[in-house]
Subunit: 121 residues, 2 copies
């Protein structure tokens, strides 16, 4: 009766799926020239500590690159997606669209059952 | 230049967003009469321990209900979405669709920049 692994969603890369990192990756995808650390913090509404922690995870997975320049008061960090990051984001997005379709079908099925008073097999 | 919180995705309920729980919630949404524990395990490809742990989180958030019946060898647990669970799942799905739109727009923007060799602002 059950279709093994039907809802395992194993294609959803956990590194990208985490909510804050999904925001970071989406921001960076939209800006091929990269985003400065303080702007990224604002866009994603994260604290310095949280943003740093998530950037570290993304960098370890080779999805982003950090370009540090200047020193002292002129020091700044610009964050870029790597080409691997772009590719993995596109693959993730395809899986996410499939999840939305699955979930929308589940909702339709539930509504049909409610309307007809039928409970499937 | 940045639009504060543009990519915070704060509407994405973290309890539902976690990959395994998203699979569990989608499975249950599709089956208004509930799903037996071993079937749910197969559908989501989870171990007993993992499924138990995620069901506990969902139950504590009042998104699911566990109906236990029988005893000894006839003991079984059927898992249902609560009506709160259904509502929160629908709200989550709306937010997820918005995220997919945001991410798709980000991809389009990146492709436009690549094609025209323009770097915005």
């Amino acid at each position: 009766m059950t279709e093994e692994g039907r809802y395992a969603f194993s294609g959803l890369d956990r590194v990208i799926h985490e909510r804050a990192r999904l925001g970071i990756m989406t921001s960076l995808m939209a800006e091929p020239k990269g985003i400065l650390f303080p702007e990224l913090k604002d866009l994603c509404q994260l604290t310095d500590g949280n943003l740093n922690r998530h950037l570290q995870v993304l960098e370890e997975s080779r999805l982003i690159r950090l370009d540090k320049s200047g020193s002292g008061r002129t020091k700044q960090t610009r964050v870029h997606l790597t080409s691997q990051g772009q590719q993995q984001f596109l693959a993730y997005l395809d899986h996410l669209k499939a999840v939305v379709d699955d979930a929308s079908n589940a909702v339709r099925q539930a509504r049909k059952v409610k309307r007809h008073g039928l409970l499937p097999g």
